[in-house]
Symmetry: C2
Subunit: 312 residues, 2 copies
């Protein structure tokens, strides 16, 4: 499958949901000749071996980066600087270094200063994932028809950007390029604040006196259960996202709260028309998301069918 | 299927998602001998006929209620009083009158004063639904393994409560009884506030200057798209819910906002441990919801599989 070949040696630093999905996709689609898998703990490394995710396995980041044409870090955003420091001395000239972190300005600040000028640094973020973590959670088709955002710095070699782009397209993704600043604002509203308010409402529901936790669980099909899926996402990953995209998150959260206060007033003063107008406007956006292939068109995400099947 | 028979004549006032799901389930499971379908508009009535949802069809509420053993109103909460007034003179002695409204104190206040003492009033609320509306959206198995809450008044005949309960169990639901007051608090946190914040974040995302609407749509897989499903629910139904469950919604919203402010401070002052602790606590509740059969266990609600299949 040499025609699909994009690089000889791919080093994956971190092999959780995102790293292992890259391993599976790159292997299945013949995008690289060999894959080196690195992870922090012996237990995860052992599991990666059992799953056959790579050709070489190591706990040592520098060892993994040696001789690699492309190195991709898939670790919590807060570990980015440590990765850059560890791999920097081992990188070969001309190598491409990338990541998958959900925040980009902070990753650039953490990694760029440590990388030698002989390598190409192209930060990236695939907009795809699930609420599960670890090497078992990965999926070969996780990136199919999802977007991957690249945030190269102004002086990055366009050929390196194109090569990384080809790798993501090879995994089924659509690729878009923007500045790290803009990325962080876009993701604050499309991902970070939604996760924050999901975590928050689940937290609120857990410490009510009048309504018990078992009632909340029992009647969750009224809407609440959707939020619990998001609020079941990995705590380390999300702690790092909020700490490292602080400014954009606080900015978007401020607007959310302002709008919520207006909505609260409409309820308090019985402004039915105001409520109706907002609820009508918000409907249209769902249609567009389905039309653009970014969500399943089925009622209730199609899970109703899955549940009904499981019961019969 | 006489052994499953619970009533002779069932009158359905309103034949949208909820009413038509009752029609389908009651028919399929042989719970009633005949179904009378009433709706407000000739167009919806025509569609109900085409779908074969009943045995008799009428635009007149009183006409529908005449000779019925059980009458169930499935209309927006704000239309409850109008229904009670219209059907009251036509009801036969001993009939059971019920509803499916998402708010219960207001429905009791609107309907109880108009109903004759010769009938049994048993308000109900099935905790099941989708973001779609109208008679085409109904599903025969919508209520299977979902909860239906009954909120009978203290002096209601227990036999009537049991009969309505049997009807819901016959449609596959589990039945629970509580006061209307408690119902409205439980639903405020498990359904109404989640819907409100979903509508709100979609509204916030729509009028940002720096981030365009097409960017919001494109990158919605980061979490935002889950909220758009909920925010695509029927505007009339939800306007009525917020206006009619005002006190409980404002109370729960106040707690949500208080908690959100605390979370905002954690982000501002870099309290990583505080964030990590909350995100760890919120994880557990998802597990319980899945264990209790109230959501699909698949990653991403299983929609990933549906989407991947559609693309190949
Ligand atoms: N999950 C999503 O939906 C999603 C989507 C897009 C982007 N991302 C981004 O992708 C990255 C990885 O997320 P994931 O979901 O793949 O996480 P994951 O499944 O939890 O896997 C994390 C990987 O990073 C390693 N790791 C954790 N902490 C580390 C540290 N301090 N130093 C070095 N290695 C460490 C883990 O090693 P051990 O297991 O050996 O400890 C594991 O290999 C994050 O930056 C996240 O923002 C996630
Ligand atoms: N959707 C859910 O997820 C869900 C879940 C549990 C409970 N509920 C409750 O169920 C009830 C019905 O919801 P639904 O989803 O079935 O709504 P729907 O699909 O929009 O159907 C509404 C029905 O009520 C009729 N109607 C609307 N406005 C009316 C008015 N002012 N006077 C008389 N009839 C009127 C409609 O008639 P025409 O079409 O002929 O105009 C239609 O037959 C609501 O009270 C809601 O709170 C909904």
């Amino acid at each position: 499958m040499a025609e699909g070949l994009i690089a000889n040696r791919l080093a994956l630093i971190g092999i959780g949901l995102i790293g292992s999905s890259i391993a599976r996709a790159a292997r299945e689609r013949g995008l690289v000749r060999e894959i080196v898998v690195q992870t922090r703990s012996p237990a995860t490394l052992e599991r990666a071996k059992e799953l056959g995710l790579g050709d070489h396995y190591t706990l040592d980041m520098a060892e993994a980066a040696k001789d690699a044409d492309v190195v991709i870090a898939s670790v919590p955003v807060g570990a980015s600087e440590e990765v850059a420091k560890a791999i920097a001395p081992a990188l070969k000239a001309g190598a491409i270094v990338s990541d998958v972190g959900s925040v980009k300005m902070s990753v650039v600040r953490q990694m760029a200063p440590h990388l030698p000028s002989s390598v190409h640094f192209v930060p990236a973020h695939p907009i795809a994932g699930t609420e599960h973590s670890g090497p078992d959670a990965g999926l070969a088709d996780l990136y199919v028809n999802r977007w991957c955002i690249l945030t190269p710095l102004p002086d990055t070699d366009p050929a390196a950007v194109e090569k990384l782009s080809a790798l993501w397209r090879g995994m089924g993704a659509n690729v878009e390029t923007m500045t790290p600043e803009h990325h962080d604002l876009v993701l604050a509203i499309t991902s970070h604040v939604p996760h924050l308010i999901a975590y928050n409402i689940v937290g609120t529901a857990q410490h009510l006196g009048e309504v018990t936790k078992s009632e909340v669980i029992q009647y969750s099909a009224g809407g609440f259960r959707d939020f619990t899926r998001i609020a079941a996402s990995d705590p380390t990953m999300w702690r790092d996202i909020f700490l490292h995209n602080k400014d954009a998150v606080l900015e978007m959260l401020g607007r959310f709260s302002e709008d919520l206060t207006a909505l609260q007033r409409m309820i308090r003063y019985g402004d039915g028309n105001g409520l109706f107008d907002l609820f009508t406007r918000t409907r249209a956006i769902r249609r567009s998301i389905i039309d653009k292939g970014q969500d399943a068109p089925e009622a209730d995400f199609g899970r109703h069918k899955i549940a009904a099947k499981a019961e019969t």
